[in-house]
Amino acid sequence: MAEATEAAASMVTPDMVERKGVWSEVRTSPPVAVSDIRKWAIAVYWPEQPPRLFWDEAYAVTTRWGGIIAPQDFNPFAWPVERPTMGGPPARGAGASQGGPRHVMNGGQSDTYGVPIRPGDVIASRSRLRDWEERPTRLGETLFVFNENEWTNQAGDLVKLRVSTTIRY
């Protein structure tokens, strides 16, 4: 009986329990173009000029990287031709649930970076609901949901592992 009461009070859904630790299908990006990287760098450094490493191949070959690399927040999945039915940016959502908590907040993110993205790369992405923690906070009973999104390049090298935290209360 106590178990039933506890389960009723929890914001953890059966769907979350089922999906915990299960990787999504892999999505792949279109090949990254030099121009994609240049435009991204200009946008995030606006209105100043971005570092030459992101757009000047003649310079970039003289660095340890041996050529142009992308800024580390570069998103190769932007501008897909086929759009998700519900719209919105990709790969946000493992762990989302219907109903339950009244409030949902972005609790932040932490990225671990491996090799940089380079022109010509094709990036593979998969995500999963890693785990969660439910505890009382000043917001009341609060559920912290941790999602992982992993990017690898065509050689299988890790590019980025993002852990995102969603707060529900």
Binding site: V44, P47, P51, T63, D73, N75, N106, D111, V163
Partner: protein, 145 residues
């Protein structure tokens, strides 16, 4: 091949050179364009107010995150490497805000064969409000290598 900073020259307590940008629709729209991030709250004052921000449209957390990376990249130079960055989005980036990335070195150590420097980072607005507290780890070249 210029090296901005060597591992041996960094100490706990050192400050990241301040990195600032004034943000408004000129920067937000450009970021929306490259990231395909066309969300009404970042483009339209009416949508921003409907989302309970009285001042109207407001900036993307992802752009503030990019500013942290940019500040780190400008400090470490092209021979350094950014290994980890994490942050929380605490306050809204209002139109016309001047955002400044700050950072303080908290640890320097050799780990997994890398010269790693750990930092606490943040993005402050012109009023000194901390909008984006977080951490970073960068890898710096050594004078010995």
């Amino acid at each position: 091949m210029a090296v901005n900073v060597h591992f041996e020259d960094v100490s706990v307590g050192d400050q990241l050179p301040a990195w600032s940008r004034r943000t408004d629709l000129m920067s937000w729209n450009r970021f929306a364009a490259v990231n395909d991030e066309f969300v009404p709250i970042h483009m339209d004052d009416e949508a921003g107010r409907a989302a309970m921000n009285e001042a109207g449209a407001f900036g993307m957390g992802n752009l503030r995150y990019a500013y942290i990376l940019n500040a780190l990249r400008d400090w470490i130079g092209d021979e350094g490497e950014i290994r980890e960055v994490g942050c929380q989005f605490r306050a809204i980036n209002q139109k016309g805000d001047v955002l400044t990335v700050t950072g303080t070195v908290t640890e320097c150590r050799l780990q997994d064969g890398e010269n790693r420097v750990h930092l606490d980072v943040n993005v402050l607005n012109q009023d000194g409000a901390a909008t984006c507290p977080g951490h970073a780890i960068v890898v710096l070249p050594s004078r010995a290598s």
